[in-house]
């Protein structure tokens, strides 16, 4: 739908790493019994991955599933497929007690790219990056707002926040990535 726009229209900045709003992404909140056979089937049908283990994100190309809490997943799909994916999930979960909600429009997605990408996040999030495992999604705060991020490429992190604070998050990333403010941690 051409009328649909992301919160910031894909704005980007260059600093000691590049930071950019990554545009729209289909996101679906699924709550239910993560250990059930129906959930396994539903996630497989929706994005083709296994149900992620605690704190893990399973990615398969443009799609994926992230563990958000013991009874909640975040399903990732291309924006245009969100509505259809909701139906796939609803069908697969059937009569099982669950909640599926399209939250694609409630979020903003950012990419932080560069050799020192994690230094930008180190300024904003009280997270020990050395203990962050490969394939881990970390829910935390970025300065004063809720955020979740994962390492999406060897030198890239993807960060998700609420849509209403997208401008705040972008400004945080821009100021934290400004040239000259490298943490020089080697």
């Amino acid at each position: 739908m051409s009328k649909a726009v992301s919160a910031l229209g894909g704005v980007s900045h260059k600093g000691f790493v590049d930071v950019a709003e990554a545009g729209q992404r289909g996101m679906i909140t699924v709550r239910g019994d993560l250990g059930s056979a129906a959930m396994k089937k539903a996630v497989k049908a929706a994005v083709g991955t296994a149900v992620p283990a605690p704190r893990r994100i399973e990615l398969a190309g443009e799609k994926g599933a992230a563990w958000m809490s013991p009874d909640e997943l975040l399903i990732l799909v291309p924006y245009a497929e969100a509505v259809a994916t909701v139906e796939v999930l609803e069908r697969a979960l059937g009569k099982e007690h669950h909640l599926v909600a399209d939250v694609s429009d409630a979020r903003a997605v950012f990419r932080i790219k560069g050799a020192k990408a994690r230094e930008v996040l180190m300024k904003l999030c009280p997270v020990d990056f050395e203990t962050l495992a490969e394939g881990e999604i970390r829910r935390t705060r970025a300065a004063q707002v809720a955020a979740a991020f994962w390492k999406s490429a060897p030198e890239e992190y993807t960060l998700v926040s609420f849509r209403s604070v997208a401008g705040y998050v972008m400004a945080l990333l821009e100021v934290s990535a400004r040239a000259g403010s490298e943490l020089n941690l080697g």
Partner: protein, 107 residues
């Protein structure tokens, strides 16, 4: 600035990622309760110097409420456990007793 491990997701959360929720293991009294019962539920709170059980929410993380056993004087954390507990786990109580022999125990 405390660090508490969320028993649901295993994150060693910074206090700034958590929201406090006061005393744990309160018993709700609704309609039909006496004035004394209701007063105790709504207003009376323990304020010990020492072992205390309290509620925390991993607000900036998995969103789950959990319970923590903590020494209010030294800030030692004896353990954290799920909110779906009507009283502190037995092994946790034993651990506290070992560390605080003078503790009168959970009542």
């Amino acid at each position: 600035m405390l660090t508490l491990e969320c028993p649901y997701c295993g994150v060693k959360a910074d206090e700034t990622e958590l929201a406090p929720g006061g005393e744990a293991h309160l018993k709700r009294h609704g309609p039909g309760s006496t004035d004394e019962e209701f007063d105790g539920y709504l207003f009376a709170r323990k304020n010990p110097k020492g072992v205390h059980f309290e509620r925390w929410r991993h607000a900036y993380g998995c969103g789950k409420w959990f319970l923590a056993a903590r020494c209010t004087a030294t800030l030692e954390v004896f353990g954290t456990y799920p909110a779906q507990s009507t009283k502190p786990p037995v092994d946790l109580q034993a651990r506290i007793k070992l560390k605080r022999p003078g503790w009168e125990g959970y009542k």
